[in-house]
Subunit: 669 residues, 2 copies
Amino acid sequence: MKFTVNADLLKEREKCTFDVEELTNFLDGGVKQTLHRRKLENFFISDPRFKDEVPMEYLSHKERYEHAVRKSCILFKKVKEWQQFDESASNFMDIYKSFLGISVGSAIIKDGTPFSVHYIMFIPAIMGQGTLEQQEYWVGRAFSNQIIGTYAQTELGHGTFIRGLETTCTYDPDTEQFILNSPTLTSYKWWAGGLGHTCNYAIVMAQLYTKGECFGIHPFIVQIRDEETWNPMPGIKIGEIGSKLGMNSINNGYLAFDKVRIPRTNMLMKNAQVLKDGTYKKSVNDKLIYGTMIFVRVVIVRDIISSYLSKAAIIATRYSCVRRQSELKPGAGEPQILDYQTQQYKIFPAIALSLAYKFAAMRLWDIYNKVTSQLKLGNLEQLPELHAMSCCLKAVSTADAAVAVTICRLACGGHGYMNCSNFPNLYAMTSATETYEGENTVLLLQTARYLFKSYHDAKSGLELTETVSYLNNFKSLRHKTWTTNLECMNSAFSQVAGSKIENCYFTINQLINSGISQEDAWNEYTIILTKAAEAHCRQFVINCFVITLKTVKLSAELLKVLTELCKLICCHWILNQLGDFLQYSNLKSNDVSSVQSLLDECLKCIRTNAVGFVDGFDIRDEILGSALGVYDGNVYERLIEDANKSPLNQDPVNISFHKYLKPFLKSNL
Amino acid sequence: MKFTVNADLLKEREKCTFDVEELTNFLDGGVKQTLHRRKLENFFISDPRFKDEVPMEYLSHKERYEHAVRKSCILFKKVKEWQQFDESASNFMDIYKSFLGISVGSAIIKDGTPFSVHYIMFIPAIMGQGTLEQQEYWVGRAFSNQIIGTYAQTELGHGTFIRGLETTCTYDPDTEQFILNSPTLTSYKWWAGGLGHTCNYAIVMAQLYTKGECFGIHPFIVQIRDEETWNPMPGIKIGEIGSKLGMNSINNGYLAFDKVRIPRTNMLMKNAQVLKDGTYKKSVNDKLIYGTMIFVRVVIVRDIISSYLSKAAIIATRYSCVRRQSELKPGAGEPQILDYQTQQYKIFPAIALSLAYKFAAMRLWDIYNKVTSQLKLGNLEQLPELHAMSCCLKAVSTADAAVAVTICRLACGGHGYMNCSNFPNLYAMTSATETYEGENTVLLLQTARYLFKSYHDAKSGLELTETVSYLNNFKSLRHKTWTTNLECMNSAFSQVAGSKIENCYFTINQLINSGISQEDAWNEYTIILTKAAEAHCRQFVINCFVITLKTVKLSAELLKVLTELCKLICCHWILNQLGDFLQYSNLKSNDVSSVQSLLDECLKCIRTNAVGFVDGFDIRDEILGSALGVYDGNVYERLIEDANKSPLNQDPVNISFHKYLKPFLKSNL
């Protein structure tokens, strides 16, 4: 069906004060990148084989999986075609960003492809932890899809605490083989994507035993299904873990071993090694394993979180311009609901957060690149800082995003509850990031540990690393008079974070001095420690946003809108944690109204450009996947169109009437 | 499968300091009520016809609906059997509470029965708005299930703002018929439960036209499907609205009219009437319609919200006693995760909120009964107060519950993401309450309007109604010294609410005095007005909890635990809105640590009795529906058992391997 653009949206677009294409180019990283992305999207999305006659939500769990496999095979065949005329497409990052659940991927397999872990973890793990020979043998086969692999770490009874894993891998020098075993039910591998029915290889993390001694967790490559019959290999029990809140075509699986033998050479031995005779050779540096974890967390924030926030903001903004409801003034007719202040306050923070977290993650990405180049030179000094920052940024951004996506959904009323709005799927995907790649509370406590140590260093006169350098001077800022400019608000965030860390430090040390053990003292204060880590993260995010505004080269018009969004987030976060700011920053009780006023002002300014701004995210209707967020604004037409795709609507009378309802009604006459 | 009770849970139960059965009896309203409930649950849940071989999540949308109809017919046939030997079961409230989605109902049709609206709205609407003749004609047929009805109010383009509805109903005196029409796409009725394929009658809310004049929204009974063939009646377009975040077997539908004629007598005429000649007779009191809305909102809070919070708390508490993870002290082994302070702070507030909102709703229920008995005498004075209180309580409790359920889910890590944990379903059900029966922001602004007026009355020396009487004296409390007893904390909540209302009042009046129109001034402050309404609600909830503690007759042991839960909520809410308390109450900056300490202390105390307490909610495993929350604590066994029910796990190799995956892999060799 072809529609004309909704008149309300047209008007909004005419009002926009900046060049939308400039914003798109900025977010893509340049004009060339935008063109390249659009070409790529066209190439894939236009393929009719990806079109669903019936939306996947209506199918059974099994059918959804089968469609996902079908489409994944077409998709990754097509990726090879694409790579032939596009060199940049041959690296993992490109595949990751384009085809696995964020952009093009989400237009094709909304609920996730069972091949994801193959690209996100199986191949990178071999590259990061395999010897050169191992890489040579495995990476080519994996990258050309002769084999499909997954990464099995988490167990039914063990998650974030990796040392607690139970699967054993015992070396037998007589046969030069390892023997994998699952000693308990809780040791079953659980969650690995694609493990259920899609993969024939897995990297398995297991407790390594050799010469009667345990050396902790190491990675092993295990064949789990026969290449010809796809039957599970002998001694291997395997299946999917069942249906979930979302990501139901990812095919998460479980895996158990009954004394399964693999060659010695299947241990990934770039770091630690087991020699033929069973001698264990320790890794030169076991901290290197952090590199991959940090990488994944930065990517989660920069690409996934930022993208989900943009999508939620686009849908809610466009819908709120088309939807009219109630009255602002008696008799004045129903206004666009985006004209309500409360509605603006639900949606605009999502726009701002999408940018704020993107900028913060980009900054972290720069640090990551600096640190990894130093790692190669054997310098590990900055690794703890990077680790600490990536932990709290992942924790806070994923939690914020899940809340923001929910608020945007609720801002669309009942229609946001429909699957065709795409909010349920967006929420399921966003909320999953709160749990995977490290439980958020555990991550915050890891950051807190680093902050505690840094505060100690600051007190001891040691030099501080960049992201915690504010611990040296946050107190001196507290006497300044409050104004609502960005510099002052930015400094208030450091004051709050600094004070919270300081408080934790003193309180916990007090307890220790009173004779309580360090662990007990720490465990008594985990709630406030997580809050200190959160405050540290927020000051980092605000700081990155402010620095970005200072350094980017953009037109004055666009820069103005970005500045309003930055101010909005400052006000929003200050008012949300007002108690902290009143206690620990130069904000005084009678300054609060100035923050509230600035917030109101920002909402008004952003209102003018809201549609233009979300248009600038340049997310195609197919990728957005929402009846409420379509570019042309024909929301109600799409809702009824989508309803009529329901298999239940193909017959005027459902069979259950004849089978159950009619006999029931008649029996009551 | 039979399991022994998990040893960790056994130990927890032995520690419990109070009599669990006493708590259950208290929550049920008495010993007799507990026995009755258990008997009823047994009668229904033991019926093998309700057992699912394959969990519904694995079926297609259509199959799920068909199962829901099948089970609903069995269920309501069985309800009649039950009624034969239980008199109390013949009223709506009993059916509502037992069979529609909360207790027994959720064990049988987890995702909701398509008959719900028939009981919740169709029958009550006829009783509330039909004449005696109409009641006589329709209620019997409806209650004995000779017909199945729904209630069609919301339209595709119109929700909470009822005056904006577009469906017309025009009287034709020549034929003594009304003519129903849907003039636009946005006027399509949308959302009504059971409307899609399950009902043959609907109460339709439409703009009444007679003698060329529009008299606003009125209710009409319309036959929508033929009793014999179940085909839509002539001129009626009908279908389901499609798949949603949850409640997918409710069969929400759409409905459009092409000049559909119904007899004049099908207008429900208890209040307004249209005479044969088309003369319109106005309702004596059009405020009476509020009664039903208030009733439904109180029920949402008292039964639905309280029940979902209990379920979430039970699941997370039991699982956290079984689950062991990480280390509190090096080498001390993995502790139960409920021993982590951060974990306690995620779960215990849900326990406390379940009670807090139940007590508040019970108090409102008492007021409701008082008011409705006065209504019958023509006294409408207390109606606005009741309306205001029900609005904010519905808004705040549903929002809090959705957050608390989510936090409990996240507290169970990845396993909470599994459908077999029941968290996804619980969340979908809870979050729906945020939107249905009035959008929460709109509701809060209705409360704000009442508070604004009440503050004006207070200033004018008029007498205040009970729930806002604190507006007379909140300022005098501010000079008192802070202590963390319940009285002081309770009073702080009134101070905050009072001050926020006062601020709104003065700021808005200032704007009006400066020449801005009343509507514009109001619209400039809707964000802070909603926050004032929220503060009013929280002071009411805390106040109700404190009064309950003072008045209930319970053992000292149980009362002690209830008191700890009340203190926990006070601390939790104070720390969440600390800025407000620092600005507006007698809490000073150096009192904050006392609140934090009390919070820590409450968590520790509640920890001892947590399992006992959630056991006291006495929710059977079948009603809880969670692999993580089972009474016997054999969590991991249930997880693998549930995974193996997946149809994908019935074959070792899925067909998609032969069809797609194998050709794909081979082509890459």
